[in-house]
Symmetry: C2
Subunit: 232 residues, 2 copies
């Protein structure tokens, strides 16, 4: 599936809208004002955007479709949490590819409660898309749907934490580097979605009291590791 490139009229509408929002304020700008400045008819606006709010987040519908397609294209054996993290990088790029626009919009959404609500619904749709993928892939795990929902929320929160810091600093610093650190934290907590009870993998986790004598620790590890190389 390929996505049609953005038509210039659409770009012109976004540009006109933001010029007016910044000049006279969001509430004081009507769709009428926007189409007049862009030099197009009112109908053209609604061909591209569902509402005035829609023009503030012009690329999310497309990115949501891309993310959905990206997730559905993953192989059965693939780590679903890793795939969702990859999708999150795609979403973040929507902001970091255009810092000036992203920072302008951030200032706008901070001051207009209606836009804040709209943004929450956009974030929620990403979260449900991630959760949907994880629910499907973790269906045979105990509490698969719970795990899916919790991991999706954690991944989105990690993304948002990085995004907000970056926007607050007016696009300074490398958000893509910061998000790696944030996603690593989430992945350390949840692994591949199996969580603390995973058993069939190549990794053993031993938790021990700091003051435990070494012989006791070794015994614990031996029992966790199971039969050694020589016994197999």
């Amino acid at each position: 599936m390929s996505f049609p490139s953005k038509p210039p009229m659409r770009d012109a509408l976004v540009e006109a809208a933001f010029r007016l929002f910044l000049e006279r304020g969001y509430e004081q700008t009507t769709v009428e004002d926007i189409v007049t400045l862009a030099g197009v008819g009112r109908r053209s606006f609604f061909r591209y955007f569902p509402s005035k709010e829609g023009v503030v987040f012009p690329d999310h519908e497309r990115r949501l479709a891309e993310v959905t397609e990206f997730l559905s294209g993953s192989g059965r054996g693939e780590d679903p949490v890793a795939r969702v993290c990859e999708a999150v990088r795609l979403v973040l790029r929507l902001y970091t590819d255009n810092p000036t626009f992203s920072v302008q919009r951030y200032r706008l959404t901070k001051t207009v409660p209606g836009l804040r609500a709209y943004e929450l619904s956009v974030v929620w749709r990403y979260e449900r898309t991630f959760a949907g993928h994880l629910r499907e892939r973790l269906a045979d795990r105990p509490d698969g749907a719970l795990r899916a929902d919790v991991i999706a929320a954690a991944v989105v929160a990690a993304h948002n934490n990085v995004l907000r810091s970056w926007l607050r600093s007016e696009g300074e610093g490398d958000a893509q580097v910061a998000v790696e650190r944030a996603l690593a934290y989430v992945r350390e907590a949840f692994g591949d979605g199996g969580g603390p009870d995973r058993q069939d993998e190549d990794v053993v986790v031993v938790v021990s009291r700091r003051r435990a004598p070494m012989w006791q620790v070794v015994r614990e590890i031996e029992s966790a590791l199971g039969p050694g190389e020589e016994d197999r």
Copy 2:
């Protein structure tokens, strides 16, 4: 701080509103209709509720205030994640204490997009309240704000997973029992908010490949444990 008990006029407004919402639909009901049925003036409505949406979620302002107070009352040495989990139980009780009302509202919010948006903003305010508490208590941990945001989101997602299942099943089953299981999953993943890299505590976590030779595992543990009893 004590919270005033609910005045009967407020209850009467909620009751009238829901009767009309169910009879003729949410969009078709005006504030005028609600005050007429309740037999009070229009001003009384707006004394209790900021908007028509507000009457659909009549108890959340109060519960948010209670949760904020509950969190701020926790001792310095207390596990902040445990405290947030306790606050989540308070929020869930708002629903489970009144199953009929909760299920009615769930049906309503499912069909009215504006209410769904309002609900998202309510959930978001709880999440930010939890995150605020965790941010304060994890301030001296590495990436404290990130941890706080991620854990708050995970806790809220766990709550919502349980709540949605319970509402979908029309209030069948014990949601308070289910939420314990869900919160246990989150707490297993994040512990007390220290996460995988905590260092100043009495517990050492070693992750090792299953096939690693024992001498290598022992060496890793020794370095993680630091100087042994005899060297201290």
